[in-house]
């Protein structure tokens, strides 16, 4: 007992880990919250509107210029939205299967948070990687395995809601995930075939993937794999034009039709977290991770270099999240059968062909 107490509670390493975990969760949550703001603002700009520009707090409004800027930019809006979700009446409909109904939002959000453990964000001057779980060799495999579990939340939500639209949404979501996972895995395989060397034992690590992109980014070497992966992360994150489980025009709200208040908020955060994870994966695998420019691997030395690298990663992330939003307000939703056809009859054959071509290329090149 005393040993457990010493190991778990009093050990400084435990606090260090907990603090790091908390920091990343807070950062992810705020990125998710502010990507909602980005979504609202960007959609407003695209549609010739202004977007949220009223929400403020008396104390913030009192600050001379910053207060006005924060209000006009809508920066207080996510906090107001979050508070609204928190304080709304948390209704429990009579016709739902209660245990799974309550469990589903947690099941949807948890994989998003767990997958984040493996994300590397940058490199410290001493060569250590800024991540929650350093030194894991299986990086990308783990992330795919875990982030695909997110669909269990959707399936559970659709089933437990005990009503037809959520059920249809859940069925579509599951089918879509299975269809696109294959093409996604094959496109990733192509890239890892190129970068991983037999001598290394961390073949599937995202860190070695980023290091392999010093000089030239993968997106220039593997454009087809990049395109397939890009389409697949849109499908995986259930974003337009592949938002099959939600498709609000034909399924009301899809899997979250019967949800409200904070439980709906959890689904919301989960969706945006999947966006963040998908974008991060694309950046790490194809856009050079924390390298600043394609042919300029590092600028400066030591702390400056790592700070610039960190900034480069987050700027790329922000740009990619904007791209998600931009595509959403451009491309209309595909019909369900079109989604299936694109997945099975277009993306999968192209991914296989792409893999075989690279395979032969490396085989003959030696």
């Amino acid at each position: 007992m005393e040993q457990i107490l010493n190991d778990l509670v009093l050990s400084p390493a435990w606090y260090y880990t907990a603090a790091r975990g908390l920091l990343v969760i807070v950062v992810l949550m705020s990125i998710a919250a502010y990507s909602v703001l980005l979504e609202r603002k960007a959609s407003a700009w695209i549609q010739g509107r202004v977007g949220p520009n009223r929400t403020s707090h008396p104390v913030i409004a009192w600050i001379p210029f910053l207060g006005t800027f924060l209000m006009k930019g809508g920066f207080i809006q996510p906090a107001a939205d979050g508070l609204k979700f928190l304080f709304k009446e948390d209704a429990l409909p009579g016709h739902v299967r209660k245990i799974t109904y309550i469990l589903a939002p947690c099941v949807a959000l948890a994989p998003a948070l767990i997958a984040l453990v493996m994300l590397p964000f940058g490199e410290l001057p001493n060569g250590k990687i800024i991540t929650l779980c350093p030194g894991a060799d299986v990086g990308v495999l783990f992330m795919f395995a875990i982030s695909s579990l997110g669909v269990y939340g959707i399936a559970l939500a659709g089933w437990s809601a005990n009503s037809k639209y959520p059920f249809l949404g859940a069925v579509r979501g599951s089918a879509q995930l299975i269809s696109y996972e294959l093409a996604m895995g094959l496109s990733v395989l192509t890239v890892f075939l190129a970068t991983a060397t037999p001598q290394e034992n961390n073949a599937l690590s995202l860190v070695s993937m980023v290091k392999a992109q010093t000089g030239i980014w993968n997106v220039f070497v593997h454009p087809i794999a990049a395109l397939i992966f890009l389409i697949c992360i849109f499908a995986e994150a259930n974003r337009h034009p592949f938002d099959m489980p939600e498709s609000e025009t034909d399924l009301v709200g899809g899997f979250h039709t019967e949800y409200g208040a904070f439980k709906f908020g959890l689904f919301f955060v989960a969706e945006y977290s999947h966006m963040v994870i998908g974008s991060s994966l694309f950046i790490l695998m194809f856009l050079g991770g924390w390298h600043i420019l394609p042919w300029v691997p590092t600028i400066g030395t030591g702390v400056v270099a790592s700070l610039l690298g960190l900034a480069a990663f987050f700027i790329k992330l922000a740009a990619f999240l904007f791209f998600f939003v931009w595509v959403r307000w451009t491309v209309p939703r595909f019909r369900y059968d079109q989604v299936m056809r694109i997945g099975w009859r277009v993306l999968l054959p192209i991914a296989v062909a792409n893999l075989i071509v690279y395979f032969l290329w490396y085989a003959f090149k030696g």
């Binding site: 549609q47 307000w329 451009t330």
Partner: protein, 181 residues
């Protein structure tokens, strides 16, 4: 007439991949994004009301301050949703405009019924009822949403008059009277 055959060519490979169309669409939305917003920040900025706008119906006076309505009740009869209710009244013998003979004792327009069709303005032989530029009408009770005579004249104010119908009639009558004597 010559028959024109419409070419129905199959989609090209580039078209079937969707990608050029998606890129073109992204360009369209990007161009839209860079345009300034068209939103009016409503309570802070008010729209400019164009000429001939059909807002809240009001009663107007002529430039001499005479109330133009003679309570003929045409507007009440023509009003499709039956929003207007007029109680006709006599003008007293001693008043200066006694030759007009009638004026409304009470004039009520129920704005919960009004559909802003403008038929009352169209039918009015005296040009006394006008749909003017007030576009927002609020109240906390149903009673508040009924505009009475005082409110209607307050909203309407004075409009320029090119006829002075009753002044002319009075002048005509006096001329006739002098001619007979």
């Amino acid at each position: 007439m010559a028959i024109k055959v419409v070419q129905r060519r199959p989609l090209s490979l580039a078209e079937r991949t969707y990608l050029p169309q998606i890129l073109a669409g992204l360009k369209v939305t990007w161009d839209n994004l860079r345009r300034p917003p068209v939103t009016l920040q409503y309570p802070d900025e008010r729209p400019t009301i164009p000429q001939g706008y059909r807002g809240v119906p009001t009663l107007v006076r002529d430039p001499h301050g005479r109330e133009k309505c003679v309570s003929c009740q045409l507007c009440e009869f023509v009003c499709p949703p039956k929003a207007i209710r007029i109680t006709p009244g006599e003008i007293s013998e001693t008043a200066e405009n006694t030759h007009v003979e009638k004026a409304p004792k009470e004039f009520e327009i129920n704005m919960l019924r009004c559909i802003y069709c403008g038929l009352c303005q169209e039918v009015c032989p005296e040009e006394a009822i006008w749909l003017q530029n007030q576009y927002s009408m609020t109240g906390r009770t149903r009673e508040e949403m009924v505009n009475n005579k005082a409110k209607l004249y307050e909203l309407g104010g004075t409009l320029p008059d090119s006829h002075y119908k009753w002044d002319k009639k009075k002048a005509e009558a006096e001329k006739q009277k002098h001619a007979h004597h």
